[in-house]
């Protein structure tokens, strides 16, 4: 052992250097969800509650105007054409007794899905109903509010509940679908959204008021 053949050490050093040079040391890499996430504002909880309340208040009108713009039979045969259970809308299976963290995660999943779906719906409706200013305006406003809500939820999850990753689904892209399918999918998503956001307000308020 005392004898070390000449050239071995340099060889070992060289190998070591080769492995070490140019490679960053492993650190706790933050998840994409919590990247660039600063501390939450003091009123983020209240703001989140208000955003959910706002979405709940505007959702029925959005859905109603959406149906009007699609033409018959979407408003007259709602159950046949817009069966909300057929969508990929995330389940919102929390209640008032659920843990806050679970509620936040469920909300995040719902609104992440909704954000993506609103993108599809808005794009489709800009194509189909370019003259329906009110519908488009409400879709844009709902999208903006949803994004603000997601930002708040992300902040709460990352900073308060230490959740750095949430598995979310985004539903099917409407690209390539025929127009009737696009209308139908938008109808299903918005109908389910109206139901879920109402549940969210119901479930969320006690937790947020305590926080």
């Amino acid at each position: 052992m005392k004898f070390i053949p000449a050239g071995v050490v340099p060889l070992l050093l060289m190998i070591h250097c080769k492995l070490v040079v140019g490679k960053a040391l492993p650190v706790n890499t933050p998840s994409p969800m919590c990247e660039n996430m600063n501390l939450c504002k003091p009123n983020v909880v209240e703001q989140t509650r208000k955003l959910v309340v706002l979405l709940n208040a505007t959702a029925p009108d959005l859905f109603s105007i959406y149906l009007d713009c699609q033409g018959d039979p979407f408003s007259s045969h709602l159950d046949e054409l817009c069966n909300a259970t057929t969508t990929d809308f995330p389940a919102f299976q929390v209640n008032r007794t659920s843990h806050k963290k679970e509620i936040m995660v469920a909300l995040y999943k719902v609104f992440a899905f909704l954000n993506a779906s609103l993108g599809n719906i808005t794009r489709d409706q800009e194509e189909l109903n370019p003259t329906a200013k009110e519908l488009l305006e409400r879709l844009h406003n709902t999208t903006k509010t949803t994004r603000g809500l997601i930002s708040n939820l992300t902040c709460l999850l990352c900073n308060k509940y230490n959740v750095s990753q949430v598995d979310v689904t985004y539903g099917k892209s409407s690209k390539g679908m025929n127009v009737f399918k696009k209308k139908q999918q938008g109808c299903q998503v918005l109908r389910r959204y109206v139901q879920v956001v109402s549940q969210a307000v119901h479930v969320l308020l006690p937790h947020l008021s305590q926080a």
Binding site: G71, H77, E126, V179, F180, K183
Partner: protein
């Protein structure tokens, strides 16, 4: 036996065999060929086939020798089949078929003559090479080979293509297609568009051919059908239910078929287009369709078509219904920068299609072969597209194509770009001034205009909103600033500038105006000297010099002061603004006065005037004419006036000294209209006209005038100086000049009968017959006598002054004319005189005939015959209508002593009804109640006894009827009032003192009075009811009602006249009766006493 079918069948076979034997015996051999048939596919060779009894000889062969109609040697071929391929010959072909056995020995030979007519032409069966489907357009594309190389020459070919649909292979259509065979193989193609989406069900296609050769005399037949080719629908192997067509765009008014495809296990409930259900057409087991006719325009998101499926499913599609693009209208292309050409247009009728389906525009330039796709928003009304300008290309031929899924339209335009220049709005516009009359302008226009000249228009507006345009042509440049100089501006004036430009050579249209810029030019010395005038003060030997301020356009800046100098004395005064006069001491010497205005830029040219006033005498005052807006003044031309006339006036306002104003006129002027903003209507102005002579100014004329004459402000003050019964003298005073408001033209005097209180309007009513108007035009006259008036009558006078401007207010007076005394005197004297004369004559006559009169009318003892008063009415006395006086038959007076006295003495107040006999017995006072108890009345019984049966005698008071009453006591009998009604019926005959009348007997006698009874009781009796003799009212009509006979007086008297027929003289001194009444008869009765 014949009923057995087996037996019948055997017999038929036997019969046929027998016939066969007979035929064989005819040819001689059973192996001989028969029933030759020939067909051709190519008109070159034909395939002939025949039948032959082969029996058991399997090794038979056939030798076929054929010759055409031409004398050629026959051609023979051997074949083991019962068919042979031989050439088609024109005309007929002789075919000899020999049946050979295996060893080659001929067994039978048969010869056929085959004419061409017996040859059939049947084309080869066509084969579909390719069958494709375009599902989006519902179109099937089919290709096949026409096999034209089979024929040696061109032929007409017809094709029949059959389309079949559904599982039951229902024929949808059978189409014909004609082609020409060229001798070479050609691939023919054909397409067909289905009325339903091809996805809805499978479609099958087959084809056959028919050749038409005009030179072929044989039969021509259709080829066999080709094998079927199929385009499968999508009604099988579905992943999920679906509706076709998907997202289709169709024209408004189209008929569209939709089909719903569903999976096994599902069934269709209904299918709707929009909200309307349609009846279903079953295409296949998993496909149903609806047909929608004449679709209307859809909303922007399309019309939904959907099918509801059992058990729980739905599928749908969207149909977009709109219009093909309209032809682009008003296509216009122009350049703004020479970098791009911008084309704009009006899209015309909206298509109703948006975004992906909206109209797409492509701008194609034919010369450069370039095109540009235009990004146009369907929602935006403005449609425009930019095309790059190419160097060295002036002419551009544009075609704007509009297309959408429903169609295409286009519009073209050819332009010379140099003639279609519409420049951008000039930018960075600046204005500067470096002199009093010039301004420099600068602006920027983007674009490359090197090849053209520009025409720019500068708009200059001054403060008076006067606008002028100046055009400037300049060379074009590239993205450059352009400059211009504007001259001939007025010094010290504010202007507003703006600019626009266009192409100079080929004007197309102006650019938009630039923004506006303001500029004030620099000052310059005043353009001229001020207008000046002077007035000499004779007392103080001073001269006051006046000047007028210059107009802004003349001042060329702000006037700071005026320099006044006296030429000879070489003195100079600088009078600051705003003073416009100054005083110069002449000290006995005249001088030439010079005045110059001064501003920052310098002095104006001086204005000069001499101080010399030439003496003038006999200056007249003329009247000017009011023009409404000025004063017209005229004068006589003076040949000595060489340097013009000056008209001076002074306008005073309130307590301030009047401001001198003047106006100068050239020497040849003889009139002028003087206008001034200070002139007021109704104000008198005095003008002085000076003539400018070589040695000074001379006063030529004074003029008075009004700008506008108004009616006098006040009424003339007038009074009535003198009044008589037929005239009034009116005097008035002059109206003060300041109240005239015009030159007085006269007075108008209105007068008419009228008293105070009558309205003025009634008085002034036109046409009133009472109204008299006098117009006094002689202004020197200050009084007027109004004649021909009525005496003692109230007149209303109204005096007004008037000018050209109208009639002034009025002042009125009321005057009463005096009475005409002579008339009154005459009116009184004449009747008085007549009365006196008549009285005198009557008196004389009466005096002369007094005895007769007395005898006639007032005898001492009246003769009843002469007294009408004593006449009875005939109907009363005799039943005769004629009156008759009482006959004075001799009678012996009786005396009746009244023994009963009255407890109550009736006071008789009416002396006229006192019985003269009774009176004679009464004491003189006639009122002694004690003596009244024993009265002796003389009585002469009447010869004619008369009785009035009627209790009611209602005769007029004036009637001459006299009624005699019973001579009775002056005292009323005491009768029970309760018995009065019965008494009324009592009529007693002869004299009966009424107080002795037994009331009971009266009752008995009078309860039924008859004529006979009346005769029995005939005699004098009172004829009137004394109860109704109201002594205080002798004329009362009630007094003549005699329905009560209880009371009566003793003397015969008229109850109408109430007069004693023969008033005794003894009673002349009787007391005056207490009677306030008066009767005309009293007058005569008392007359003798008078």
């Amino acid at each position: 036996m014949w009923d057995n079918p087996s037996l019948r069948c055997l017999l038929a076979i036997a019969f046929l065999h027998l016939l066969s034997l007979i035929y064989s015996q005819e040819t001689g051999f059973p192996e001989a060929p028969w029933s030759l048939k020939c067909i051709t596919h190519d008109l070159n060779r034909m395939i002939c086939s025949w039948d032959a009894t082969s029996s058991a000889n399997l090794g038979l062969t056939y030798k076929i020798c054929y010759t055409n109609s031409e004398p050629f040697s026959p051609v023979c071929i051997e074949t083991g089949e019962k068919r042979a391929d031989i050439p088609v010959a024109m005309g007929s072909t002789n075919i000899q078929i020999t049946t050979l056995n295996a060893s080659g020995t001929p067994l039978a030979t048969e010869t056929f003559v085959l004419p061409e007519e017996n040859v059939s032409l049947i084309p080869l069966t066509p084969q579909i090479l390719n069958l494709n489907a375009d599902f989006s357009t519902y179109t099937l594309y089919m290709k096949w080979n026409d096999s034209g190389s089979v024929f040696q020459h061109e032929l007409d070919a017809s094709w029949q293509i059959q389309i079949l649909r559904k599982e039951t292979m229902e024929t949808v259509t059978l189409m014909n297609y004609d082609s020409k065979l060229t001798g070479k193989d050609s691939i023919l193609s054909w397409n067909w568009t289905s009325d339903i989406p091809l996805e809805c069900t499978s479609h099958h296609v087959k084809i056959r051919c028919y050749i038409n050769d005009p030179y072929f005399s044989g039969r021509t037949e259709w080829s066999e059908w080709s094998p079927i080719k199929t385009v499968p629908g999508k009604d099988t192997k579905l992943s999920s239910a679906v509706v076709f067509p998907q997202d289709k765009v169709v024209l408004v008014g189209s008929n569209v078929t939709f089909c719903c495809l569903y999976n096994e296990g599902e069934s269709i409930k209904y299918m709707k287009y929009g909200s309307k259900s349609y009846s279903l057409l079953h295409l296949s087991k998993w496909s149903s369709a609806i047909k929608v006719q004449n679709v209307s325009a859809s909303i922007s998101s399309g019309t939904n078509v959907w099918c509801s499926l059992l058990p729980d499913n739905a599928a749908g599609t969207v149909l977009f219904v709109g219009y093909a693009p309209d032809t682009p209208q008003n296509l216009n292309c122009e350049t703004r920068t020479f970098i791009t050409i911008t084309c704009s247009w009006n899209p015309g009728r909206p298509t109703g299609l948006y975004r992906q389906r909206q109209t797409k525009y492509i701008l194609f330039e034919r010369i450069s072969r370039e095109n540009v796709t235009c990004k146009v928003d369907e929602l935006n009304k403005k449609h425009h597209c930019d095309f790059p300008v190419h160097a060295n290309q002036k002419i551009y031929s544009f075609t704007l194509g509009a297309s959408n899924p429903l169609g295409r339209a286009e519009s073209s335009l050819l332009i010379d770009v140099n003639q279609r220049v519409n420049l951008e709005t000039p930018d960075k516009f600046t204005v500067s001034a470096n002199s009093s009359t010039n301004a420099h302008l600068s602006w920027y226009i983007p674009g490359n205009f090197i090849q053209i000249r520009l025409l720019c228009q500068i708009e200059i507006s001054n403060s008076n909103s006067e606008r002028q345009l100046r055009n400037i042509s300049m060379a074009g440049a590239e993205n450059s600033n352009y400059r211009a100089r504007v001259d001939a501006l007025h010094p010290y004036a504010t202007y507003t500038f703006r600019v626009r430009c266009s192409a100079s050579e080929h004007f197309w249209r102006w650019s938009k105006w630039s923004e506006t810029k303001k500029l004030t030019t620099l000052e310059a010395p005043p353009a001229r000297g001020p207008d000046i005038w002077r007035e000499r003060s004779p007392v103080r030997e001073t001269l006051t010099v006046f000047w007028k301020p210059l107009l802004l356009s003349e001042a060329n800046g702000i006037i700071l002061s005026h320099e006044v100098s006296c030429y000879l004395r070489e003195t100079m005064l600088e009078v600051p603004v705003p003073l416009n006069s100054t005083e110069i001491k002449l000290e006995g010497n005249d001088c030439l006065i010079s005045v110059a205005a001064k501003n920052h830029a310098g002095l104006s040219p001086p204005s000069r005037i001499t101080s010399v006033d030439l003496p003038s005498d006999n200056v007249k005052t003329e009247l000017a004419i009011a023009m409404g807006n000025g004063i017209y003044i005229s004068w006589h031309s003076d040949p000595n006036v060489t340097c013009g006339y000056t008209l001076k006036w002074c306008i005073s306002s309130g307590s301030e000294p009047c401001s001198v104003d003047w106006e100068t006129f050239p020497s040849n002027a003889t009139d002028a209209v003087i206008k001034s903003a200070l002139f007021q209507p109704g104000v008198r102005y005095n003008f002085s006209l000076y003539g400018c002579k070589h040695n000074g100014y001379q006063l030529l004329q004074n003029i008075t005038g009004y700008m506008k004459e108004l009616p006098p402000k006040v009424a003339p003050n007038f009074t009535v100086e003198e009044t008589s019964s037929e005239s009034i003298l009116v005097k008035w005073e002059d109206i003060p000049v300041e109240d005239c408001q015009g030159f007085l033209k006269g007075y108008i005097l209105y007068f008419a009968k009228g008293e105070k209180g009558t309205s003025k309007t009634n008085f002034m009513e036109e046409g009133s017959p009472e109204l008299t108007v006098k117009n006094i035009t002689d202004l020197t006259k200050k009084s007027l006598r109004i004649l021909d008036l009525q005496g003692k009558t109230s007149y209303r006078l109204d005096l007004r002054a008037y000018t050209v401007g109208g009639i002034g207010p009025s002042k009125d007076l009321y005057v009463v004319t005096k009475e005409n005394s002579m008339g009154l005197i005459i009116a009184i004297l004449i009747p008085v005189a007549v009365a006196v004369v008549l009285g005198v004559v009557t008196s004389i006559l009466c005096y002369q005939k007094r005895e007769w009169i007395k005898e006639t009318f007032y005898p001492d003892i009246p003769n009843p015959e002469n007294s009408k008063a004593l006449q009875f009415q005939k109907n009363i006395c005799e039943g005769n209508t004629a009156l008759k006086t009482l006959e004075m038959n001799p009678c012996t007076p009786n005396s009746v002593e009244v023994v009963e006295t009255r407890s109550t003495v009736l006071k008789i107040e009416d002396t006229e009804i006192i019985s003269p006999v009774a009176d004679s017995e009464l004491p003189e006072d006639g009122s002694d109640p004690e003596t009244g108890s024993h009265v002796v009345v003389s009585y002469c019984p009447p010869i004619i006894e008369e009785e009035i049966s009627s209790p009611l005698i209602d005769e007029p008071v004036g009637s001459s009827q006299l009624i005699y009453i019973d001579i009775q006591s002056m005292y009323q009998p005491q009768i029970n009032p309760e018995e009065e009604p019965e008494i009324n019926f009592v009529t007693t005959a002869g004299y009966k003192p009424q107080m002795q009348l037994p009331i009971n007997s009266m009752k008995m006698e009078c309860h039924s009075p008859t004529e006979e009874d009346l005769d029995k009781t005939a005699g004098y009796r009172p004829q009137a009811n004394t109860n109704v003799w109201k002594l205080d009212s002798p004329d009362s009509p009630i007094s003549i009602q005699s329905n009560n006979e209880n009371g009566s007086f003793g003397s015969p008297c008229s109850i109408n006249s109430r007069q004693f027929l023969i008033p005794p003289k003894d009673y002349e001194d009787s007391p005056t009766p207490n009677n306030t009444g008066w009767a005309f008869t009293n007058f005569f009765q008392n007359k003798p006493n008078d």
